[in-house]
């Protein structure tokens, strides 16, 4: 057991700091309350001296460990055919990529890793913790989402190969066709009719059953709407990732209320579909009451600086605790893991991070990171 005394805890649900002690038992937070004192030699007591304690940060869209900028470093895209739902992000993951160490040192403890956006259906995403030497140690939830990409990327990849999709029409059509097949496949399976095992369609079943969401990559507002419409037609759950032009279609977004994952914010606008990228987009969306997460899209922006991107949103007008929510409770809810992470409450995973100041400021140093009740990083005194 570990007892953290005198914590100034970020209560992300209520948007305030509260002074409490935190008791960790095994992998979980056992208790959060005033003045916990236990007379037991075996308990490790750490005095936090009123430093700030945050729930471990969550990066809801990343290719960490799957995609490095090395020669041959991309294991996130299998661009040989546009529909690859049975591919699994965890099979492309190097769990010992050194970016993980930078991530947990910066307080990022939970990450959704997903295939890239070169294919219309890229494959299955997973949720991992940033500590651990093997995939088994890291893994939190799999499958956790099905990655779907709209807009420029699949079209660019396959028009060069003289294949479909070479237009947005074809991307949408391929998706509808595949989902229609998956729907029929599932119906026949449930009716007990003998079906020929289809690995790709099997991978789509959890989406059809609404067990996991579609993770829809889109930048331009018309692409986001295409994604929303397809999800609605099949009655699916979805998150809208990037959603760079979301501020242009706020009514549509409010109507469906899908969680939105904005980012990366730190990179140059390299292509046409991101030309309207601004810091104001997530600020405007969160003002409208939507569930907004800020994501790194590592390696396209370095995930260790995720809190700094969020700090920039505060600079440009986002409420401080709204900003904190975009990397804690909001992504936890969006990814369906808010029963385990995203806030410091008893019963949740022992994922917390202690800073010597405001984590959204560059000069702030991490004092301690705990994941699954284990201290994985501690600054030298």
């Amino acid at each position: 057991m570990i007892l953290f005394k005198n914590c100034s805890i970020a209560d992300v649900k209520n948007g305030r700091f509260i002074d409490r002690d935190i008791l960790i038992e095994g992998e979980k937070i056992k208790e959060v309350s005033n003045n916990i004192d236990i007379l037991d030699e075996n308990i490790e007591i750490i005095d936090i001296k009123n430093n700030k304690v945050f729930p471990g940060f969550i990066d809801g869209h990343s290719h960490i460990g799957m995609w490095t900028l090395n020669y041959n470093g991309n294991d996130a895209n299998e661009c040989i055919q546009p529909m690859t739902p049975s591919l699994r992000a965890i099979d492309g993951l190097n769990p010992q990529d050194r970016a993980f160490e930078s991530a947990y040192k910066a307080g990022i403890t939970t990450i959704m890793i997903c295939p890239g956006s070169g294919n219309v259906i890229g494959g299955q995403a997973a949720i991992i913790k940033s500590c651990g030497k093997t995939i088994e140690e890291k893994l939190m939830k799999f499958p956790a989402a099905l990655k779907v990409a709209l807009g420029e990327n699949p079209k660019n990849v396959y028009s060069e190969l003289k294949m479909s999709p070479s237009s947005r029409m074809s991307t949408a059509s391929l998706l509808r066709e595949k989902f229609e097949k998956a729907k029929l496949y599932l119906e026949e399976k449930e009716q007990g009719k003998l079906v020929e095992y289809d690995m790709d369609l099997e991978a789509i079943i959890p989406v059809m059953k609404k067990e996991i969401p579609l993770k829809i990559h889109s930048h331009r507002s018309d692409d986001t709407i295409t994604g929303i419409n397809i999800a609605k037609e099949f009655g699916l759950k979805a998150t809208l990732d990037h959603c760079t032009e979301g501020y242009l279609i706020i009514d549509k977004l409010k109507e469906v209320n899908f969680p939105i994952m904005v980012g990366p914010l730190f990179s140059f606008r390299t292509k046409d579909e991101v030309k309207n990228a601004t810091y104001e987009n997530p600020i405007e969306l969160i003002r409208n009451g939507l569930n907004i997460s800020v994501v790194s899209d590592h390696p396209f922006s370095n995930c260790e600086y995720l809190p700094i991107y969020v700090g920039l949103l505060v600079k440009y007008g986002m409420d401080y605790f709204d900003a904190i929510k975009t990397i804690t409770i909001n992504p936890a809810m969006a990814l369906g893991i808010d029963n385990r992470v995203g806030s410091i409450e008893s019963g949740k995973d022992g994922d917390l991070v202690i800073f010597d100041g405001d984590p959204l400021e560059i000069s702030t140093k991490t004092l301690l990171t705990m994941i699954n009740g284990r201290i994985v990083y501690r600054a030298n005194k």
Partner: protein, 379 residues
């Protein structure tokens, strides 16, 4: 005339903070002192906000690659030819690109604009002010440096061709070869007939005569040493950009007084050339007396994040004052424009930025950007 009252002035000429007023006339700083009064001047009370000289990003490709366009807006690299010292950035810059506005909003008033990193000799870099109505008005110092790139990016951009260079040896060879031929060409003085006129050698003249420095972009120790060797063989003034592994050979840099343009530090560093990147490098090099600048290398990170890179250097141990110098007076010195910009001094260009707090903090906002005495942004 413009009068800025009650500033907390970081002049960058000394570590001393001055509380006082600045009078601007004809685009220049006319006077800095306590209690200036001038009835004719437009007066702004800064209420003790922090005043700094306009920030300088000593290595960017601002406007050479446009936001949200892709290939049609990308004029960084003339990939068909590996050696193009004759190319000028001003012929490829779109001054209407959004990033100029974002630079101004974040207090960056000058930048050295350089060709990209995929050719061996990319071309001629020039210093630009970030605000103006025409390229000529903004062009502040033409051909301020020659851009040369070493290492993996050059190698890999050449892999689809069957020609030199395919290796680091090839890169060094073709640079030496061109410089040797250029040296011979110059010896012939002006006795060049139209048949022998060579635009590349003509462009190398001022470099070989040491009038203009060469910026070598190099990350790994081996590439940094190649740059130093070539520089010494031809008696060049060299500047090292990126210089990722420079902290491993500090003494080599220090004893030769080679200035460095470091950064950016916000990118992913999984690239093999960057695996040894340390955010402590600005601290280590500046402490040993090396003239140190911090740069964004826009579009590697967008130019508006220059101060955040400075903040990271401070977090990792760099002296606060040195970090501010690395984005003001140090780049002015390296680029040979310190007589005109880089500090708040009487007689210099009125390039001034006012912040509502510590300039290296994430949430600090720009209140005012002034370029050549003109208010170009008000927050």
């Amino acid at each position: 005339m413009l009068l800025l009252k009650n500033g907390k002035i970081f002049t960058m000429t000394s570590n001393r903070v001055i509380y006082g007023d600045i009078l601007i006339e004809g685009g220049k700083i006319k006077e800095i002192s306590n209690n200036i009064s001038n009835v004719e001047a437009k007066t702004i009370d800064l209420k003790n906000s922090i005043v700094m000289p306009g920030l300088i990003d000593a290595h960017s490709s601002l406007g050479l690659i446009e936001n949200g366009v892709g290939f049609p807006g990308n004029d960084l690299n003339e990939k068909a030819d590996n050696m193009t010292p004759q190319l000028r950035v001003e012929d490829g810059i779109n001054i209407l690109d959004k990033s100029f506005e974002e630079a101004v909003k974040n207090g960056i008033t000058s930048t050295l604009i350089c060709p990209g990193s995929e050719q061996v000799i990319g071309g001629q870099c020039s210093v630009f002010k970030t605000y103006g109505k025409s390229i000529d008005e903004m062009n502040y110092k033409n051909f301020a440096a020659l851009q040369i790139n070493l290492g993996d990016k050059v190698k890999s951009s050449n892999q689809n061709k069957i020609e030199m260079p395919m290796s680091r040896m090839g890169i060094a060879y073709i640079i030496r070869n061109l410089f040797k031929e250029g040296t011979e060409y110059i010896k012939r003085n002006n006795n060049i007939s139209y048949k022998d006129y060579n635009v590349k050698y003509e462009s190398l003249k001022s470099v070989l005569l040491k009038k203009i420095p060469v910026i070598f972009s190099a990350d790994k120790v081996e590439d940094i040493l190649t740059a130093i060797n070539i520089g010494e063989e031809f008696g060049l003034n060299i500047i090292l950009q990126s210089c990722t592994e420079g902290y491993l050979i500090v003494e080599e840099l220090r004893k030769r007084n080679i200035p460095v343009l470091l950064g950016p530090y916000l990118t992913d560093y999984s690239n093999l050339e960057l695996v040894n990147r340390s955010c402590k490098t600005p601290c280590t090099l500046s402490k040993s007396g090396i003239l140190t600048c911090i740069v964004t290398n826009h579009p590697d990170v967008p130019i508006d994040l220059l101060t955040i890179n400075g903040g990271i250097a401070v977090k990792e141990g760099m002296d606060y004052g040195e970090a501010l110098k690395s984005i003001t007076i140090n780049p002015a010195k390296v680029l040979g424009i310190s007589d005109k910009v880089g500090s708040i001094s009487e007689g210099k260009d009125a390039d001034i930025v006012v912040f509502n707090g510590d300039p290296l903090k994430v949430r600090t906002r720009t209140l005012l950007t002034i370029i050549n005495g003109q208010i170009v942004y008000e927050g």
